[in-house]
Symmetry: C2
């Protein structure tokens, strides 16, 4: 792997030329003077690896830079930018680049969440940088702040809205009263959601980002398999309406937190819809925007907000990494390595501790509330508040219920997931209980 | 200046042992294992320079580390942390450290805003790092994101709430209807404001931060002398009440923006109170919190939110810089240097272009609105909206006015500061105009 002498160009290879790749190419090709000044040497885009040379592309990408031989391209680069996505061949190409001594910038969240340690070890063995700001929350600088700015602090909790599609869907349900299918269809029509929205709606995308954030925040390896995952498919228009009545909005959150001492605890990492109080900064995140809320011991609460997807925003994050990596390539040295010194145990899903709001349809007669409360007490689940809304007391017409049914809205104190599951089963077996209509976690209070 | 071999400790000198210095010492002395793992070598606090050895201090700082000989301390450090504040002797000590080859981490906004170029040149000449995350917005990672994450993007505008004291004061005026003096007294009682609140209330602190943010965002040297500055002393309870009625809150903003092409424009940097629409993310920043809103060409809108002051939050930012600087000290290389490649002209205050809301007390009779509108037209100031509130139409008792007076609320399109000043003078000379009660800029719409 040849190196660049001072002043001679740094050779950049681009793997992938989709929406993000095209914007990365545009940045390198149309801002050469700025980037050169910041790096201290020119950046030369030496090639763009694509699957099919014949595909029609934005004219900003010169045809003579296109190649289908990604391996040969990697071998002649000082810096490799991977924006092709997926596990293979991205993984093999990144390993090849790192082992050959090239710095790598990637936006590949799935690969990092599944195979991160392998990549970090290869980078460390070669003494080169592996940067991935664009892998989480698009344009929002969040990887660098957690990895570097908070390197002298202890992070307690990360709460992130890291999937723009589901935030758009939930926002439309909240503001327009749409049901899930209608809101998903609207997101698809606007290009926010894929034809098959599974990766977003079922929380897979958010889970990959949760794994990456947890690894950074807690200096502990967390893979996507360790992330408890629940998507938004079960969220109904009724859930959203009830959330509003109790002063909440429903958000799909990536949650990573330390249970126990901040320097010797256990890590819980999960993705699920949650009730967020309207007064919490995350509640104000609208449309397809992303935001990550971080609580650190010294810094206190921090929030980072911006666009989580899209070609230009993601390319902005990639190019920031390119400048830093190129600068180090030029001046020597290596950035922060993978930090896994805390190495906390990662808790299984059922050991997570959260607050819950449980909505129960019960017979509207005296004594039912006491019965339900009794079951919670037996299971050691402590009640924060109970709100009983009987049919006659229902203020809103759209909540008018069948005669003789009341709604119980039970909000618990923090309880283990496993205790709650057992409690819900026991409550639903009570004779006057007609239906458990929803069980939602409460976060951010 | 001796260097550290791999594994042997990096020697850290701490200059200043006030609220922030004490927390930095605590971080280094009580988290040694974490920091060592992240840096790759132990950090040894070799001394703490203070003015008076006899002052009572937090017991976390060992007495035998204290010294009044700051120069000798600097000379035996690999890394110097300056948290003493003020121009001298901080400036001389930082220059001494840099010239001797030590990396420097500083939280000194006043020094950077007044003498930044001198310090950056010394750092660059010695090939060492000068880091200053804590100098702007306390715990909020904002220097590193603008300097590094956005290094491949073009920033168009920065709008920051960067002074917690004035945000607290304005927030109390907004939520409790206090007048300025009452709110300042409350801030003083809580320790948010100094006995002499000039630096905060008159915008000097925010102006220093504006200069630093503008320099970073636009790769252009901006000193505090080039920042147009207006504090919040003129803001009345009436201004705050009227702001609410027009869907705004009043915030003290640090504004830095490019006028003209984003890669070949002119820079306007200013600090002033402004009307911010309640729907803007900055409007939700409460109490003494800080937030910085950044608009970049590629990334789009970004916001960074958190605590802008206080010992532990500021120390968190300092320690993040310490880890990065120590890591580079160990592995070689240098971070990003001062970036001044764009070198845009900085506009004088009167050339700034903003929208205004002007509140005018006029005689309540037909034709006055037309007269005022005519004066604006003559001066080339385009009107966005005019709202006329006559005494009889005033809904709120506290707005009940003397008989025969109406309020005109004129919101302009973007206009040059100089044109607006001339316009206001001409309007106030009109016969039916009784008083110009306020002229406030409108930002973030």
């Amino acid at each position: 792997m040849p190196d660049s002498a001072n002043g001679s160009p740094l050779r950049v290879a681009l793997l992938g030329c989709g929406v993000v790749g095209t914007e990365v190419a545009r940045g390198i090709l149309t801002n050469p003077i700025d980037l050169e000044a910041r790096v201290g040497a020119p950046l030369e885009l030496v090639g763009v690896a694509v699957r099919d040379l014949a595909t029609e592309r934005d004219p900003v990408v010169p045809r003579d830079l296109l190649t289908t031989d990604a391996e040969a391209l990697v071998d002649r680069a000082d810096l490799v930018v991977e924006v092709m996505g997926g596990i293979e061949p991205a993984r093999s190409l990144i390993l090849r680049a790192l082992r050959g001594g090239a710095a790598v910038v990637t936006a590949n969240k799935a690969l990092l969440a599944e195979r991160g340690p392998e990549l970090f070890e290869a980078a460390d063995a070669a003494g080169v940088d592996l940067s991935f700001e664009a892998a989480v929350a698009g344009a929002i600088p969040i990887v660098r702040p957690i990895r570097e700015s908070l390197a002298g602090d202890h992070v307690r909790r990360v709460l992130g809205i890291v999937n723009g599609t589901t935030n758009y869907v939930l926002d439309r349900m909240t503001t327009e009263g749409l049901d899930l299918d209608e809101a998903v269809a609207q997101a698809q029509a606007l290009g926010y959601a894929e034809a098959d929205p599974t990766a977003d709606v079922d929380g897979f995308d958010a889970a990959a980002k949760a794994a990456i954030l947890a690894s950074l925040a807690f200096h502990t390896r967390v893979s996507i398999d360790q992330v408890a995952r629940e998507g938004i498919r079960g969220i109904t228009a009724d859930d959203v309406a009830w959330a509003a009545r109790t002063g909440h909005v429903i958000k799909l959150l990536a949650v990573a937190e330390v249970i126990g001492p901040v320097d010797d605890g256990e890590v819980s990492v999960r993705v699920h819809p949650a009730l967020v109080p309207v007064s919490h900064p995350l509640a104000t995140v609208r449309d397809a925007f992303n935001a990550v809320f971080v609580e650190a011991q010294g810094a206190g609460p921090l929030m980072f907000y911006g666009q989580g997807a899209g070609g230009r925003p993601t390319a902005s994050a990639v190019l920031g990494d390119v400048v830093s990596a190129a600068r180090r390539r030029l001046t020597g040295g290596q950035g922060l390595r993978e930090s896994k010194d805390q190495d906390f145990p990662v808790l299984p899903a059922e050991a997570a501790i959260t607050r819950y709001q449980v909505r129960i349809d019960v017979e509207d007669r005296p004594g039912v509330l006491a019965q339900v409360a009794g079951v919670l007490a037996e299971h050691g689940v402590s009640i924060d508040t109970v709100r009983q809304v009987s049919a006659s007391a229902a203020v809103h017409e759209d909540l008018a219920q069948e005669h003789g049914t009341a709604h119980l809205l039970v909000t618990t104190h923090a309880a283990r997931e496993a205790s709650l599951a057992a409690t819900v089963a026991a409550v639903s077996a009570l004779e006057p209980v007609r239906e458990i209509t929803s069980v939602l976690r409460v976060e951010g209070s």
